[in-house]
């Protein structure tokens, strides 16, 4: 049965069937071929897999982000970032990094972030005179910051698939690694810009202009603050916080900035619901897939296989990092996460690892895997969207990738980077 499951999954995946459908088809075929279970388990798992109140944070975060963009709040955020760092060396590159950090892509798909905001940032940099391949490479790598910095759909789904961690704990664990990632990319951008002479200085904005653009960005900057404060203070559950974020964006768009018209509202709702459907379909289909993995005792055999090989937690973490990295190189973050968490989870108990530290390593690994050649799905998206030759893009991405891997090594080598903040605020289990 496991042979059928994996053969169908990897064949259809390589052939380019959408990941969600691959998991469903593989699950269905495995159940039918095996014959021990009625095929009724398939619809049952598809339904129950997403029958979850916490999961509702996903569509609400998507809606809040779409509303922010429709209200022009995203634009004011970009304007502020540009006024803040646009005039220094490699300025637009830093803007690219900063915007990815501030507006940490809530879509939960690094692929979607690369195709959407990433493509916009790329064309901005190209217009300003940056080398196209470098602009694309930077946009690809900054798309990986989103899932690390809260609020992050990836973390919500992680916490749903692993009872050892909470959403609040994961959100906090991601703050320092996310900032480190941003700093590392900025530093690399500075170095590359110096080497290639990317000067294109915009005139330094006057203090008044900077202040005005800051005021314009305050409402947008307030959003993650409200979400985090509400969750950390125990006022809201993550789902409620996400609903409050929607209400906040609606309030701003309809009453404060007044950029959102009622007629537009419907388009935004329809757009957000199809985006959410795409994300949730993966979660739904993955539930039949991961149920079969558990049934086949794949997680247990991997855990015991590794423990037969070593009993050092450090070696285990390196092994995990390698496995996850390879997965990230071929599959988008969310499906990879849903498949890997139940499979690798038992290792946390077996080797007494900190679950938050483990989670951060897995998430960071996956997202970096997405921009790692030779496969690197995000690189393919950027090369398609931007019309950049893949080989050129790969060459441009290498220094940025080195910086990200350096951060990853730091996070793996020093657990306190991810665990200190949640521990200080009391969000560990």
């Amino acid at each position: 049965m496991s042979l059928v499951l994996f053969a169908v999954f990897f064949l259809t995946l390589a052939a380019g069937l959408p990941v969600a459908i691959c998991m469903g088809v593989a699950g269905m075929v495995a159940v039918l071929v095996d014959g021990r279970f009625p095929a009724l388990v398939v619809p049952q798992h598809l339904f129950n897999g997403i029958s979850s109140f916490p999961l509702m944070a996903v569509p609400f975060f998507v809606l809040a982000a779409d509303l922010m963009t429709a209200c022009g709040l995203t634009a004011s955020l970009m304007r502020f970032a540009n006024n803040l760092v646009g005039h220094i060396r490699g300025g637009l590159g830093h803007v690219n990094v900063l915007v990815s950090m501030l507006f940490a892509g809530v879509s939960g798909s690094a692929l979607a972030d690369a195709a959407g905001p990433g493509a916009i940032e790329m064309s901005m940099m190209e217009k300003a005179g940056y080398d196209k391949a470098y602009a694309g490479a930077l946009s690809a790598t900054t798309a990986t910051i989103g899932p690390i910095i809260p609020p992050s759909i990836l973390m919500v789904v992680y916490a749903i698939s692993d009872a050892r961690v909470t959403v609040a704990g994961l959100f906090l664990a991601g703050v320092v690694p996310g900032v480190l990632l941003g700093a590392a990319l900025s530093a690399t951008n500075h170095w590359v810009s110096a080497k290639h002479g990317y000067l294109f200085r915009a005139s330094r904005p006057s203090l008044g202009e900077l202040g005005r653009s800051f005021l314009g960005a305050v409402p947008a900057l307030g959003l993650p603050f409200i979400i985090m404060a509400g969750i950390l203070a125990g006022i809201f559950t993550p789902t409620e916080a996400a609903a409050v974020a929607v209400a906040y964006s609606l309030f701003l768009g309809l009453l404060v900035t007044r950029n959102l018209r009622w007629s537009q509202l419907f388009d935004v709702l329809a757009q957000s619901s199809t985006t959410s459907a795409a994300v949730l379909l993966i979660v739904s289909m993955a539930s039949i897939f991961s149920w079969l993995l558990t049934l086949l005792q794949v997680p247990q055999s991997i855990a015991s296989g590794i423990s037969a090989f070593t009993n050092s937690p450090a070696v285990v973490m390196v092994l995990v990092a390698l496995v996850v990295f390879i997965c990230g190189m071929v599959i988008d973050t969310l499906p990879a996460l849903i498949i890997l968490v139940p499979v690798l989870g038992p290792l946390v108990d077996k080797f007494h690892l900190d679950p938050l530290y483990f989670a951060m390593t897995v998430v960071l690994n996956l997202t970096i895997g997405l921009v790692t050649p030779p496969v690197g799905p995000v690189l393919f998206v950027i090369s398609t969207v931007g019309g950049i030759r893949y080989e050129k893009l790969v060459r441009a991405v290498l220094p940025l990738l080195m910086a990200e891997v350096a951060v990853l090594v730091l996070v793996i080598a020093f657990p306190p980077i991810s665990t200190t903040l949640p521990r200080l605020l009391g969000f560990t289990r």
């Binding site: 052939a15 380019g16 990941v19 398939v42 509702m56 540009n82 199809t274 795409a278 599959i331 499906p335």
Partner: protein, 181 residues
């Protein structure tokens, strides 16, 4: 068999289907938001929350997922790995994508079949809060799978060409207006 060679009536049917479908999932998301937000407000202001609202909104999310899947397909939002496809000559690409399309339709067809049995099984049980037959929320599986197949049939030609639908112009970020260096 491409979308551009559709007879006009079929094209109209196609557009109507997409419009109605978008309207339905959009309204569902709106209702879902109102229910959850109302629960937050009543909990903190009045000290109670409505269990039925929680249940309805969870069901709505599942309905959005399966009724919105076909739209996500049309807009190219269903993530896939195209590394191999990108390297194929166009005739082979079309053949492969036609095959993948058929596989998807068979899978969702099976889902309609087993989904109906799932609904009839759930008809005798009740949900926790609303006390309605579980088969009612379960209906979305056969209905959504059928809708997905319908979208797939109408979209098949464009699916083989990866010619995705763009429901509206890309949101203007406003950034390019005189801000660039």
């Amino acid at each position: 068999m491409g979308g551009d060679s559709h007879p006009r009536a079929l094209g109209r049917l196609d557009a109507t289907l997409v419009g109605v479908n978008r309207f339905c999932v959009g309204v569902m998301l709106g209702v879902m938001f109102v229910l959850v937000f109302a629960n937050v407000v009543t909990r903190y202001c009045l000290g109670f929350s409505i269990a039925a609202a929680e249940e309805i909104s969870t069901f709505l999310m599942i309905w959005i997922t399966y009724l919105g899947a076909g739209l996500a397909l049309r807009e190219g939002k269903l993530a896939s790995i195209d590394a191999i496809q990108d390297r194929l000559p166009s005739w082979l690409l079309k053949t492969l994508r036609s095959l993948l399309g058929l596989i998807s339709m068979v899978f969702f067809g099976l889902l309609v079949f087993y989904g109906i049995r799932f609904v009839s099984l759930g008809w005798s049980q009740e949900t926790f809060a609303l006390m309605i037959p579980r088969g009612i929320p379960y209906l979305v599986l056969p209905a959504g799978a059928m809708l997905f197949v319908l979208h797939f049939v109408l979209f098949f030609g464009r699916w083989t060409r990866r010619d995705w639908e763009r429901p509206q112009a890309q949101q203007d970020t406003g950034f390019t207006q005189g801000e660039g260096p």
